[in-house]
């Protein structure tokens, strides 16, 4: 399992400082929620963990992000492998312009997984008790893999008869679960989710949260949310950001029951939001 550690992380966009000197460890195999008011740097913090920030212009990142002890901002880091290891779900689900099946198979194909690698991936899922897998059919490994991840994301039963339809025809809630399955299919160790339920209806949102709770056995999950109640429901560990500063972090129970900083208290009590 990955261990993520942020050390003195600062991020500036042009002249504007978004994150200021953040140092925090993110615990393994648990759900960590990054909370805080809008515009306080939650998404920036999240995207610094898989280097998606670099797609923007004028971004400067200072400090270190260590995953398994290696600094991902080291120029020698293989960014493709890093992003394979760290899955990502965006705020609004964006299905790739292809079929449901191809959305899931896209990642494994891009990383040129062999049949044997796919089989061992399925075996891994089988042994980790998050998923029940029937016997493995060696001729149709990709089909099996697609089925596994769609099942894992809680979408299989709804789409099994129309795998080759365009993914854009799914409802937005289904699309977000598809995004989860797609991210899982490249076998990440970490899942980053940027307000994954904010565009969804309550029932779809509940499904996503349920999948997260199920998946944390196998993955380290980091969720950005501005819904305090959601953080209370799903988080094991909480990081509270306010105006680019790390104000407080800790075990969810302790964090919510006895916050130390007065800004945290104000946020939890609803004085600021």
């Amino acid at each position: 399992m990955s261990h993520i550690s942020l050390q003195n992380l600062s991020v500036t966009f042009g002249a504007q400082k978004i994150l200021n000197d953040i140092t925090v460890d993110i615990p393994d195999s648990r759900i960590t929620a990054i909370i805080g008011p809008s515009g306080c740097g939650k998404t920036t913090l999240l995207k610094s963990i898989n280097r998606l920030l670099e797609l923007n212009d004028d971004v400067t990142v200072n400090g270190d992000v260590l995953i398994d002890g290696t600094n991902i901002y080291d120029p020698k880091t293989d960014i493709l492998l890093l992003r394979k290891k760290v899955g990502f779900m965006s705020q609004r689900p964006y299905p790739l312009p292809m079929s449901i099946y191809d959305n899931i198979a896209f990642g494994p194909r891009v990383h040129r997984l062999t049949d044997d690698q796919i089989i061992s991936q399925i075996e891994g899922l089988k042994s980790s008790d998050v998923l029940h897998v029937d016997s493995i059919d060696k001729g149709k490994t990709m089909d099996m893999l697609v089925k596994c991840y769609l099942t894992l994301a809680g979408l299989w039963d709804e789409v099994k008869d129309r795998l080759h339809e365009p993914a854009s025809r799914l409802s937005i809630g289904q699309q977000q679960r598809l995004a989860l399955a797609r991210a899982l299919a490249v076998e990440p160790e970490v899942i980053l989710a940027d307000e994954p339920t904010s565009a969804l209806d309550p029932i779809s949102a509940q499904l996503i949260e349920r999948q997260f709770r199920l998946l944390k056995k196998r993955y380290t999950i980091v969720v950005v949310t501005h819904i305090l109640r959601q953080a209370r429901r799903v988080a094991d560990y909480v990081i509270f950001l306010y105006l680019g500063e790390l104000v407080e972090h800790g075990e969810a129970e302790v964090f919510f029951s006895s916050p130390i900083d007065k800004r945290t208290r104000a946020y939890i009590s609803g004085e600021i939001s």
Binding site: L55, L81, R83, F88, P97, S99, F106, V110, A167, S168
Partner: protein, 282 residues
């Protein structure tokens, strides 16, 4: 003071007037070409090359110009696509910095506005330098140059509209820029790319000035890339400038055939485009 509802009505009125104006002009041109050209249109017009005395109103057809225009326009489109697509993709911010991209856009916009006779003259000078005479190859190359700015700029505008978040989710899976470009960006912008190609194709097949010196004109269908080649716009031009009414009528018939080819190509590529765009994300 005009009421806000009044403003709304005036603007609605203005829109209707301008739309009607555009439609009238378009329909007027089509009506002229059809009424004047249709009587002269017959099967030998399409299937035969000009016989002796054709330009005096005797037998023959313009198969040389139809085939010539198709060769020229398709040949030039293929070359232009092969060059434009990589250029349009490379203008994205992932590949080219902002200043360089803007400078390239400026150059393309200037090229877009350059009269096609200038392309013809440029092509002619280059061909003379290399000792080439007016030929199918020369025409295709010059026509592809004429199409380039139109294709690149329209493709690029479409490619820029691909949502940043869509690229982001693709990169987040550990894809390279190339993989994202081909599997996601190209697929997502395909219908727009087809429109860009059609725009350029329409401009290319209808242009006369650029191929006047470079492709030449002949009564025969070219047998090789180095033969001169006839074209529909020039066929229209030559026939309409004769004093003989029958020949002038054939000019309109030639224009009608040209219009028909453009419509046919447009409809076909839209049908094909639709098949490939069922997956795009709206």
């Amino acid at each position: 003071m005009l009421s806000r509802q009044g403003e709304e009505k005036i603007f609605k009125g203005l829109m209707i007037v301008s739309l009607t104006f555009v439609m009238i002009i378009l329909l007027g041109i089509i009506a002229l070409v059809v009424t004047k050209g249709a009587p002269a249109l017959n099967i030998s017009m399409i299937l035969e090359t000009p016989k002796g005395g054709y330009y005096l109103g005797k037998e023959g057809g313009i198969a040389n110009a139809i085939v010539g225009s198709i060769y020229l326009a398709f040949g030039a489109s293929i070359i232009a696509i092969l060059i434009s697509l990589p250029v349009a993709l490379s203008l994205q911010k992932e590949y080219t910095n902002k200043h360089m991209a803007n400078f390239t856009r400026l150059i393309l916009d200037v090229l877009w506005g350059t009269p096609s006779i200038v392309y013809g003259a440029f092509g002619f000078i280059v061909m003379v330098y290399f000792g080439l005479r007016a030929s199918l190859l020369g025409g295709i190359v010059v026509l592809s140059l004429l199409m380039l700015p139109i294709m690149v700029r329209s493709m690029e505008e479409i490619i820029r509209m691909v949502p940043h978040e869509l690229k982001e989710v693709s990169y987040a899976l550990g894809t390279t820029k190339l993989e994202t470009t081909i599997a996601v960006i190209l697929k997502q912008s395909l219908p727009g790319i087809i429109t860009a190609i059609l725009l350029a194709f329409g401009r290319g097949i209808g242009d006369a000035a650029s191929i006047l010196f470079t492709a030449g004109y002949t009564d025969y269908i070219p047998k090789s890339l180095f033969d001169p080649v006839a074209s529909l716009p020039l066929a229209v031009f030559f026939q309409i400038s004769t004093p003989i009414p029958e020949v002038q009528q054939r000019a309109y018939a030639s224009a009608l055939i040209l219009l028909f080819i453009v419509i046919l190509v447009s409809v076909f590529s839209r049908i094909i485009g639709k098949r490939f765009s069922r997956n795009i994300v709206r």
